[in-house]
């Protein structure tokens, strides 16, 4: 699955998926939940707290 495909599925741009992957942008909770639902995993399996957070 490409970033463009994932963005299309989630209703966001390819650039936004790229920024999330690169750690430059923290998605909103609804977007994180949609992502988790799409991949059929828990949110905590996609995102985790870093020590400085």
């Amino acid at each position: 699955m490409t970033q463009a495909d994932l963005g299309e599925s989630l209703g966001v741009s390819r650039q936004t998926i790229n920024s999330i992957e690169a750690g430059r942008y923290l998605p909103s909770l609804p977007l994180a939940l949609r992502m988790a639902r799409l991949f059929r995993v828990g949110v905590h399996e996609i995102f985790e707290m870093e020590k400085e957070d």
Partner: protein
């Protein structure tokens, strides 16, 4: 050519420029310079054409210009608006202070702009504190 882009309206920014250009050109016309008004409106039409072409792209700026941006692009738009507003406010305060020094107490139109900025900021604080 379809005007409805993937997200938002491709012609949104161009329409804003055409309407804004018409208003400015109308003001120039009323001011007694019909030739200058035509040139001003022509310049705005060129800017509108550029905006329409740019809005058809797939980048972040194009999405913001179409008004069909996602949450990250809206965040970029919000931050850019805040940065522009802050720069304008700082410039206006500086200009008001310079005007006060020049005239011995009259900030001129900059004082009114400072007042509008301060009042609208205060109102926005009250509204958003309740909504968010």
């Amino acid at each position: 050519m379809p005007t409805l882009a993937k997200n938002g309206r491709r012609g949104l920014s161009a329409a804003v420029l055409v309407v804004g250009g018409a208003l400015v050109a109308g003001a120039v016309w009323i001011g007694g310079e019909p030739g200058v008004a035509a040139v001003v409106f022509g310049a705005y039409l060129v800017f509108a054409a550029i905006a329409f072409k740019w809005s058809g792209g797939s980048g972040d700026v194009a999405a913001i210009m179409r008004g069909g941006s996602d949450e990250r692009q809206r965040s970029i738009d919000l931050r850019a608006t805040a940065a522009g507003g802050t720069a304008t406010a700082l410039f206006t305060v500086a200009a008001a202070i310079v005007n006060i020094a020049r005239t011995g107490g009259n900030p001129g139109p900059y004082g009114v702009i400072c007042l509008v900025f301060g009042a609208s900021y205060g109102v926005a604080l009250v509204i958003f504190r309740r909504r968010i």
